[in-house]
Amino acid sequence: MNEYNFAYLDEQTKRMIRRAILKALAVPGYQVPFASREMPMPYGWGTGGVQVSAATLTPDDVFKVIDQGADDTTNAVSIRKFFEKTAGVATTEETGKATIIQTRHRIPEARLRADQILVYQVPIPEPLRFLEPRETETRKMHSLQEYGLMHVKLYEDISQHGAISTAYAYPVRVADRYVMDPSPIPKFDNPKLEMDAIQLFGAGREQRIYALPPHTRVVSLDFEDYPFEASKADHACNLCGAEDSYLDEVITDDAGNRMFVCSDTDYCRSRREAGHQGRLAQEGTA
């Protein structure tokens, strides 16, 4: 006997995670504690997302993994290989073909469908943690909806920088109840949190699972006179020319030259294959 159980985890562990996922869906935005297991990768490399994916996968699924939008970075490649080996599932880099997408720090540009599931890797699930280090206190604050501290933090942003400078992990209010950390996605992605797909969040080291059912009301915290703004670099992608996608800035030499490229590699590639060209497309595709 040298084969893994389907999707690596033993059945009792999967049942425990599945029960946590169901409660997380029943109370959107609330962080359900779960008995996170040691995985054959270090904490911080997506062990929470991997455990949620393992409990959710069936052999019929097509699995995609992205890290900051990219399919071809170390974290994404190793998690994709992990499930190819332990679950035998088909994998893809095409957003439209995937049924489960595990992500670190991005939401794909393409609109997700109702039959897709997005699994987030979460480092710190508690949005109040950097304001209040004690778990007993943050639990109480959530139970009493005592979220004034979070608004004070955003206010201090404005008083120091003239605008809300929080650019990623931008806090949201879920279904008019829980304040939730959407994981370190750029705030550009926040409006996409209201989507047709099921969204599951797994924090392995912190042992929490939370969820957003489809069409759940998700509001980014802001002020009447300083409304939330989904911002991105004010450029077009240098490879595919997209003006609506989130961009990475890449330094290209010692002379201070730089280029902007889509952080979502599949989006960028499919646009280039469709004939779209950015400013540096000729050199970029070499």
Binding site: N5, F6, A7, E11, Q12, K14, R15, M16, R18, R19, A20, I21, L22, K23, A24, L25, A26, V27, P28, Y30, V32, P33, A55, T56, L57, T58, P59, R139, K140, H142, S143, L144, A175, R177, Y178, I198, A211, L212, P213, P214, H215, T216, R217
Partner: protein
């Protein structure tokens, strides 16, 4: 056809069947009002296929199960104990309760969670004669605009959703189909 014994009727390929069963359960819990097929187990008389499959998928020695009314038969007890090892407990301690709506009542006897840990609440698996998308109007997370689902007792379920974020969550099972109603759903009697 061999007689149903406590040893038969479980999953024949547990990792795969449980994975498919969970996806159906997760889909209906995430989309209140949707009805999905849920198969895999062949439970003894007193449990529907969907209810039996749900219990095999979700219960184990860590979860107390309360069997109500017709579901509380020696055959069901032995089958559930053999296949899951779940302790059989009174309603007040249950993580899962299964039976007909009238046998499961009153709703007040189940755990609804605590303000700090609302997840520590019971999930009721309600055996129904029919499941159809008519009757009460549902709104809330998981529903684009509105959904419809025939519910056994609208007033009691409204009272449960008024407890939000506390409260029980419900699966409704009928034969080999399942629907769900989480506590987050707001219910209006007529649409």
């Amino acid at each position: 056809m061999t007689p149903q014994t406590r040893f038969s009727g479980g999953f024949t390929d547990a990792p795969v069947q449980a994975a498919h069963a969970f996806r159906a359960a997760m889909t209906v819990m995430a989309r209140p009002g949707e009805i999905r097929q849920l198969v895999g187990a062949t439970p003894p008389e007193g449990l529907s296929v969907a209810a039996g499959t749900l219990l095999l998928t979700l219960s184990d020695p860590d979860t107390g199960v309360y069997l109500a009314g017709a579901a509380d038969s020696p055959a069901v007890r032995q089958w559930l104990t053999f296949h899951t090892g779940a302790p059989l407990v009174p309603a007040a301690q249950a993580d899962f309760a299964v039976g007909l709506w009238q046998d499961l009542m009153p709703l007040e006897q189940y755990r609804i969670g605590t303000p700090e840990y609302p997840d520590r609440s019971a999930t009721l698996i309600v055996e129904c004669g029919v499941l159809h998308q008519s009757g009460a109007t549902l709104r809330g997370p998981g529903i684009r605009d509105t959904a419809r689902l025939a519910l056994p007792d609208v007033a009691a379920l409204q009272a449960n959703s008024d407890l939000y974020p506390l409260g029980c969550d419900f699966f409704f099972t009928c034969g080999d189909t399942v629907a769900a109603l989480p506590r987050s759903t707001r219910i209006e009697p007529k649409g």
